[in-house]
Symmetry: C2
Subunit: 106 residues, 2 copies
DNA sequence: CAGTCAAATATAATTTTTGTTATAAATTGA
DNA sequence: TCAATTTATAACAAAAATTATATTTGACTG
């Protein structure tokens, strides 16, 4: 058994608003158990747990068991990839910048 | 008929690798018709067209009909929202920065 | 030790996404 | 006008994501 660790795309992980809110909650509170995170949503624990699992597969959160609770913590490092991807398009963000670039190239 | 324009989330739009590649192709080539974009993928025209429709709903591309072809153009402006969202987490990107912040707060 | 709380797991139902094929419409060029 | 090209649209199917329920496991508490 070769431990088929499902690598998850960070872009997919942040595409869902629930998961973005989870990221924000963890950024604000350092470390939180599942039941406290769940309290911030309408959906049940299982659904929140699965969203956290997707974040974990993207390496955006870590967790550890303390007694009977599982506490989650943010690891924002993978977001760097998105920032890098975005940085390529900064020159296109407004037409003025793009136009300027075009003029300068000529 | 109130023209129910489906506002599409930019996060969802960029979550798909095909759509990220489309964005890149349009960034490199200014304006391209559907059939030329399709040539860069394995999938059929219809599928590519649908991906472009999602990008258009997120306002990431514009299109115009020239003769029998529809030419697509990148509008990178909506990516700014993602950048803004990311900027909030820059301080968490590496543990050192986070640790430093914590120490300074104490 | 019995009862309770927190969470994981397994399962299932539903919805969304993705891609195909088929068909029709519009444009171009001979 | 006729044939080829480009695209759009609709119907369909397969795959993935989302959420909920029920069951099980493990840890604390009285």
């Amino acid at each position: 058994m070769t431990h088929t660790y499902q690598e998850r795309d960070v872009y997919v992980a942040i595409a869902d608003p629930t998961r973005r809110k989870l990221i924000r909650l963890l950024a604000d509170s350092d470390e939180l158990p599942l039941h406290e995170l769940t309290a911030q949503f309408q959906m049940g624990r299982t659904a929140v747990s699965k969203h956290l699992a997707i974040l974990k597969e993207a390496d955006l959160v870590t967790n550890r068991k303390i007694g009977r609770e599982t506490r989650y913590r943010l690891n924002a490092a993978p977001l760097q990839e998105v920032k890098d991807w975005l940085s390529f398009y900064e020159e296109f963000w407004n037409d003025r910048a793009r136009l300027l670039k075009k003029i300068l190239e000529e």
